[in-house]
Amino acid sequence: MANISCTGITKSYGAHPVIDGLDLTVADHEFVVFLGPSGCGKSTMLRMIAGLEEVTAGRITIGGTDVTDLHPGARGVAMVFQSYALYPHMTVADNITFGLRRLGVPKDEVARRLRDVAAMLGLDALLDRKPKNMSGGQQQRVAMARAMIKTPKVFLFDEPLSNLDAKLREKLRTEIRKMHNALKTTTIFVTHDQLEAMTIADRIVLMRAGAIEQQGTPDEIFDRPATRFVADFIGSPTMNFRMGIIRNGVAEAGSIRIPLPPGRFAVAEGQEVELGLRPARMGLVAGDAPGAIHGRVVLIENMGAEGQVIAEVNGAEMSFVTKEFRRLAPGDAVSFALSPDHLHIFDRASGRSLLNKDA
């Protein structure tokens, strides 16, 4: 049992709180990703759970035990750092087994566990190397092995892949997720990369300026963003936003007219709103189709299987993604539309989504 619960967590450096009264629970075996722009307090939150940073107020429990005042080593957590944080003068084997040796685990037991972990992460051939003679990917594998060998109650990752190149990042990401599927250890993974979060998480905790903006499965976060901030942060290419107004059950923005399914949005007649249209949820349509948006192609970005088309609509740019982008050229007139039920409407003042809860 290693669920985590944080209640009323506050952290201040000086007078200014970086995290203010944050509540969070992580279930046993869950893989949670802290996602948010840089500087929003993800690392601070993770480091408080690890015990590397003191909380200003609030309690943290791991597996039912209050660990708020425990030394990091006594909390049963293992952490993987962005910088790898290996002990530079020790061999890979010594790096991995350092923690077990500190606990006085018998030598043959240490050797056996080292063999298992090294085999799992493909480090057998590297055990006698020093960190500086290895690539970034290999070093991060060693750091993961060092975390795994302790069979901790909780894994903490602080942007472990950010220093690696794109290919390797993808590979290690898959490995981390596979490792979790096999070991089922409760995991918190910090990243600022929304794609990484979407692909790896059971649940995303999206943070903004020291508070949780929204939490939910990747699908919930992607398709039902609770605020304009979430909608803007998630998804690539980013969502198109247009100021609009509700008239006769239709969302209007310039020449754009999108009929609203009745009961889906909590909007009033004549309410001024902001519309959100996800490029990935749009496609080419015939010019007279209902809800069609008419524009002129400005630029086409070839992404291989599909292309992002940037079109000028009412004097502002709007992008959408289509597989049939090769038919288009800059300057062409183009008609495209949002798939039904994929419109987002936000309150202009608060930025909150006006989607009805049960819709």
Binding site: G51, G73, R102, A143
Partner: protein, 290 residues
């Protein structure tokens, strides 16, 4: 102007001065060492290796060699041990930047004192009747201790002064070095259940191995030049208990015997021994610090 020529032209004047001074004095010493020049008579004649052969039968010379070796080991090891322990202590206990800087400033003071001044201060502190050291010892019911007059502890007592000056200075350097270390491996060690002393023994100090070895080499060279300190504090005594090679060379060449040629032979031997020793130490140091 090419880079090569620039380097040559800028280095040449200083190198010329250094080489001239070193060559003239070394050449002079070498010349004296094969003569039988003494202060009491103006003329001298060539005696070949006579002075060197006599050195090899001189018990006092070998005593001085031994004292010099002990002096090197005690001061270098003592300085580093004091510096490492104090630096870790300051690093762990003093977290406020202001206090840390004040402590560092205080620790720098001793090394800024001229040697002779430091020697006089400590001679006073060590004084059997008036000294602070004996007043302290008295509190524990010990003493009075003859710090500088007891042949068994005189060398150690002088070494304490040297370690007081340099150990505290190196403490400041190590405190600053500890501050520059990356925090992540230290935090990883905390999560790996390492206690504070284990973090320093297994992580931070090994990370500073290179700089610490460099400090040791600097101190080893510096310790060779402790003539002024020992001369003022004990003058080599009691007996020859604190007589290092440079003190003996001075005593026999200038002070008592006035046997300049004999002292020159000793200096030449000292030069050869230290050059050879330091070549080996330097090589070993470079290998360890990797």
């Amino acid at each position: 102007m090419t880079r090569q020529r620039f380097i040559f032209l800028t280095l040449a004047p200083a190198t010329l001065v250094l080489v001239t001074l070193a060559l003239v004095s070394t050449g002079g010493a070498l010349w004296f060492s094969v003569m039988n020049r003494a202060l009491r008579s103006p003329d001298s004649e060539f005696v070949g290796a006579y002075n060197y052969l006599r050195l090899l039968r001189d018990k006092r010379f070998f005593n001085a060699l031994e004292i010099s070796a002990i002096w090197e080991v005690v001061t270098v090891a003592g300085t580093l041990i004091v510096a490492v322990l104090l630096a870790v202590l300051v690093h762990e206990t003093v977290k406020r930047a202001l206090w840390r800087n004040l402590i560092c400033f205080a620790f720098l003071a001793p090394v800024l004192l001229p040697r002779v001044a430091a020697a006089f201060i400590w001679r006073f502190l060590y004084s059997p009747s008036l000294g602070l050291a004996n007043w302290f010892a008295g509190l524990f019911g010990i003493g009075p201790i003859e710090f500088l007059a007891d042949p068994k502890i005189a060398l150690l007592s002088v070494a304490v002064v040297d370690i007081w000056q340099w150990g505290l200075f190196f403490t400041v350097i190590l405190v600053k070095l500890l501050e520059t270390l990356p925090q992540d491996p230290i935090e990883a060690a905390m999560l790996d259940n390492a206690r504070t002393w284990e973090i320093h023994a297994f992580v931070t100090l090994p990370m500073l191995r290179g700089p610490i070895i460099s400090l040791a080499l600097v101190k080893a060279v510096e310790s060779l030049r402790s003539f002024d300190l020992i001369f003022v504090m004990t003058g080599g005594g009691p007996g020859t208990a604190t007589e290092t090679l440079d003190l003996y060379a001075y005593q026999s060449g200038i002070n008592l015997g006035g046997r300049i040629s004999y002292a020159s032979a000793m200096s030449i031997l000292l030069l050869v021994v230290t050059t050879v020793a330091f070549t080996f130490i330097w090589r070993a140091g470079k290998k360890w610090s990797r």
